[in-house]
Symmetry: C2
Subunit: 353 residues, 2 copies
């Protein structure tokens, strides 16, 4: 299996090594062969090639079975013009590969729950999968420009019905193998695109009579995620609402540094990255938390390589580490042992085998 | 002073009576004369006149010094087509009157803080003013329609530079008389409108050297509101981001039923309404919490009628009630006395005088 590594910026380089090490261990245990090739993206690619997404990186990704990405961005590249900013590498690769479905599982880890900003009785037991449409909407609609001699500006929220259909189907499929509850989030009292979205959800729901569907306005969803996170199973929404709500949800369980994400398309090819950023302040110090990256590698095994058992084994090993008290500087665990990136990775590997 | 009452739907009718009673008490204490006229809006107006915003209501509001609104909406009107939905009354009156600045103060009330979903050490001391642009952006941009024979759909995020300038100025003015910290929220790494927004904020900031400005992406803001609400003073943002973030923020302190809002324009005319909805499930039972409405009346005195002292007196009376243990069914107070809408209003009036 051909895996492309895009370490990117900041702590990306360190944590991607951790994922590679864990994957190699799993490969030898289960008799798989993974080949890894690294390519530049983001600020790193700007520094080397003057563009956040070199052709060479795109071509490598187009031929990959799966892609692991560390993180992109940092203050170093903040003054640059819009089209050569590190984030453009990420937006570009999503669009070029057609990675329309962003899966963000949000789950509490018992040993970390005490770090949640929410009361334990509110957050305990929450287990949410946010499915965000990733290649449409305001992110890519045209026009997106100054008009009227700079006196006004316009961005465009554009969706094709088919783009809605495929993400909504994905969401129903995901709900079906979970707790069979789907919350569709929109702003149908204001946006025409949301009214079409709601129609598509209602239509598709006929094919999934076993899944209960609830429509929720995005403002209400932003409230309910905090007041009753346990009421959600799968949430599906368009690109920008998904950006906001998935980040909001990511802090609920107190374990932002642990959360993985998958950006996939219908044939299973996908890009996997931790939810946290490039953390330039701690880059190069060997103290970054590799677990979000390692859990992203587990998602890759599950969604792109059909290796469910292997994915589960990694997830169990990570949980075992936490239960043994291992934690990096960003987490705190009662009576824990604080370790660096390498030792944390070693601990995961030991729990694997 | 000419005050228009728009009771609207659900509990709106009950709580608006509470506000009127409190205002009349304040008027006789301070020697003011308020005249009140009621008009229909929302579902109530649909039932009576077939439209959520009758001409007569618009005309009355155009001649008012200030407007108090109860709430609009309810399941009864949910099947109706987009343009005769109760919410259209609210959107319509905002636009017709040019109420471009939505002020949403979010504050904890010590006797209620225990009801917050957040840990007390996280939420304690938070005191945020969200200033949301209310008459532009995706809410009103054209086109907003199906295209390509219904196979696609488009909504338009349109802003004029001047619309940004006036709301940003309002935000700086507000920050100046508070803790002098302004967080401007946008999505400048994706949207052209956000990049113009950021330019406008940076330009205006030169006129307010005493106010520190921070730019924050909307996804980051959605996280930080939960993890460190006390880091915010004034937040300013465009219409849709403001809709989402202000609702998110409204549940942080555990006192959603207490929160007021103001929608104003440059000359001071404004519409004041509680943040909570029409609560159709408890309408007509006499148990609705009138405090969000009463505090909205206080905001009206402050922002539209320049009666700061009178506004403070109402706010202090409300806090005194809570400290005396009075609460409605939606709140809980340790060793409290649960009362209905009328008794709660009486309690406020008694604390006034
Ligand atoms: C970096 C940025 C453009 C990106 C987005 O908004 O999609 C990020 O916030 C994310 O959620 O992956
Ligand atoms: C009812 C709805 C159209 C409205 C909005 O989105 O502005 C409401 O959510 C609000 O925040 O006042």
């Amino acid at each position: 299996k051909q895996i492309i590594l895009l370490p990117g910026d900041g702590i990306g380089k360190e944590i991607i090594e951790s994922a590679k090490y864990v994957l190699n261990t799993v490969a030898s245990e289960f008799g798989h062969r993974f080949t890894f090739h690294s390519h530049a993206i983001g600020g790193d690619a700007i520094d080397q090639y003057g563009t956040p997404l070199p052709e060479d990186t795109i071509n490598a990704c187009l031929n990959a079975d799966a892609i692991l990405l560390g993180a992109v961005g940092g203050p170093k590249w903040e003054g640059l013009p819009g089209n050569i900013r590190p984030e453009q590498g990420l937006l570009g690769i999503r669009k070029k590969l057609g990675l329309f479905a962003n899966l963000r599982p949000i789950q509490g880890f018992a040993p970390l729950l005490h770090a949640s900003p929410l009361k334990e009785e509110v957050v305990n037991g929450s287990d949410i999968l946010i499915i965000r449409e990733l290649t449409g909407g305001l992110y890519f609609g045209k026009p997106s420009e100054r008009i009227n001699e700079g006196k006004a500006v316009v961005d465009t929220l554009y969706y094709e019905r088919e783009e809605m259909e495929r993400i909504v189907e994905k969401a129903f499929e995901s709900a079906r193998i979970r707790r069979k509850h789907l919350t569709s989030v929109d702003k149908a009292n204001v946006l025409e695109s949301s009214r079409l979205w709601r129609e598509v959800v209602n239509e598709k729901s006929k094919d999934y009579p076993d899944v209960t569907v609830e429509h929720m306005l995005v403002d209400a969803a932003a409230m309910k995620l905090i007041t009753s996170p346990t009421q959600f199973d799968v949430i599906v929404t368009e690109n920008l609402f998904g950006d906001i709500l998935s980040d909001e949800a990511s802090v609920l369980t107190g374990s932002l540094g642990m959360l993985p994400s998958a950006s996939i398309r219908a044939d299973g090819v996908g890009l996997y990255e931790p939810v946290h950023g490039s953390a330039p302040d701690i880059a190069g110090k060997g103290i970054a938390n590799p677990l979000g990256m390692i859990l992203s590698a587990a998602l890759m095994l599950r969604h792109s390589l059909q290796m469910e058992e292997e994915a589960n084994e990694i997830e169990e090993a990570v949980l075992a580490c936490l239960e043994q008290g291992y934690h990096t500087a960003d987490l705190s665990v009662k009576n824990g042992k604080q370790v660096g990136t390498k030792e944390m990775t070693e601990a995961v590997v030991e729990n694997l085998t």
